[in-house]
């Protein structure tokens, strides 16, 4: 079990690479982002391991203060590159950001469950899926959302990139703090509530835009 994360990485990513030869362009792009998320998780595991040995912090302090910084930077890196090299549409950035987050959580959850195989339960799988899975998706989406500010104005680059990264790190830090405490259930519910709130806001935004275009058509 020494190289468990490497074994999991290979077993997950090799079928994905093979699938790349079959998929069309759109599916291929999504699959590549999923793979980038998985690879980011692998590297983060290694970097976190190295930093944990060097830094004079306990596990709780380390996972609250250091892990979120490392993981959010690693997850944001592919989105930054994608946004600046290919200049895709806002929708594509949002999608790719969420896919990277989900890819990240796939390897993380697999590792967590494989590493605790003696204490594993269906409840743990559900909790990991809804909690950590959504949390990674939401934080990466936040960074992707921030990057799109540059589409409105170039001067908003700092707000878009760095400020939203800070927000993502804080959110991740709160989640890690909660799940390790006796209020762990609150930690797992937090991403679900955030996700529902995001859906409601998105729905209201769409309704507003649709309503506006209908009223504009009626009253040109």
């Amino acid at each position: 079990m020494e190289n468990l994360s490497l074994m999991l990485l290979l077993s997950i990513i090799i079928p994905m690479i093979m699938a790349l030869f079959i998929f069309d362009k759109r599916s291929k792009t999504n699959m590549i982002f999923m793979m980038l998320g998985i690879v980011s998780c692998f590297f983060c595991g290694e970097i976190n391991g190295l930093l944990y040995n060097v830094m004079p912090l306990g596990m709780q302090d380390f996972t609250v203060n250091v892990t979120p910084v490392v993981e959010e930077i690693a997850k944001a890196y592919p989105i930054f590159l994608y946004a600046f090299l290919f200049k895709p549409s806002k929708k594509k950035i949002y999608e790719s950001a969420i896919i990277i987050g989900i890819g990240f959580s796939i390897l993380e959850n697999s590792y967590m469950i494989a590493n605790n195989s003696e204490n594993v339960s269906l409840m743990l799988a559900l909790v990991r899926g809804f909690g950590a899975g959504m949390m990674h998706g939401i934080t990466t989406f936040a960074v992707g959302f921030g990057i799109t500010f540059i589409y409105t104005k170039k001067k908003l680059f700092i707000a878009g990139s760095f400020a939203m990264m800070c927000v993502a790190i804080t959110y991740h830090s709160i989640y890690n703090d909660l799940v390790q405490s006796s209020y762990s259930m609150a930690g797992f519910i937090m991403p679900v509530i955030t996700f529902i709130a995001m859906m409601v806001i998105n729905k209201l935004k769409k309704l507003e835009i649709v309503g506006k275009s209908v009223s504009e058509e009626m009253n040109p």
Binding site: V64, V66, F149, L156, A163, V167, T170, I174, S181, I201
Partner: protein, 234 residues
């Protein structure tokens, strides 16, 4: 040295922190549903995102306290304070400043007088730390907090003050953003002064929390009003 890094909390402190978090979150949610769910100018959206950052920071502080039982003066979630200031700076500089100040000499007076706000905030911050931590070692320990937490705040306050002091523009954008800038400045000063309340009593802390939450509501209502004025201009 441990006393400087961490401080034990009482039950009353938890109530104040919960009130602070719920208050700012309520203000943020009002802003989100009134501004961010429709097509609004970027300036107002960025101010609401800034309030959201403070709500997140308040949640992080509260969670940290209920999980550990003490308040730590520096932790990674303080980065959301940086995000708060960056959103204010971006709203004023990225979304607005270029329209209002093209670098001509007519705004020179406002540009210079605006330094009053950052200087005053820095003075309040420095004096508090000298009084509270009358120890060179403690001061150097807090320097990390200074660079991360405090440094973006005077920069943000400078632009708010500058826009308040500038002569009215022909398009009327300054009229739309005036109250937003006033409430942001009020909030920043309350925030800095509330540091002193820790030295006085628990009642002073709760009064500061009420004032701070009120200032956040003020920011959000000023944003809603400013957005309506802005839409009549464009």
């Amino acid at each position: 040295m441990q006393d400087i890094i961490a401080e034990k909390l009482t039950g009353f402190d938890y109530v104040v922190m919960l009130f602070y978090f719920v208050g700012i979150t309520a203000a943020f949610l009002i802003g989100i549903f009134k501004i961010c769910t429709r097509r609004s100018p970027m300036y107002f959206k960025l101010i609401i995102y800034a309030v959201g950052c403070r709500a997140l920071e308040a949640l992080a502080s509260f969670v940290d306290c209920i999980c550990t039982g003490y308040v730590v003066y520096f932790r990674v979630s303080n980065l959301s304070l940086v995000a708060y200031s960056l959103f204010i700076i971006s709203a004023n500089v990225g979304a607005l400043d270029k329209f209002l100040d093209e670098g001509s000499s007519k705004n020179l007076k406002a540009r210079l007088l605006a330094f009053i706000a950052p200087v005053a905030l820095s003075a309040i911050y420095a004096v508090f730390h000298v009084i509270a931590y009358n120890d060179v070692g403690a001061f150097s320990l807090l320097s990390l907090g200074f660079y991360i937490e405090f440094l973006p705040i005077p920069v943000g306050s400078y632009f708010c003050m500058k826009q308040l002091l500038m002569p009215p523009d022909s398009l009327g954008f300054l009229k739309a953003t005036r109250y937003v800038n006033i409430f942001i400045l009020v909030q920043l000063f309350i925030e800095e002064l509330s540091n002193y309340s820790v030295l006085i009593s628990g009642t002073a802390t709760s009064v500061c929390a009420v004032l701070s939450v009120s200032s956040f509501f003020g920011i959000v209502f000023a944003v809603i009003k400013g957005e309506k004025i802005w839409k009549t201009l464009v």
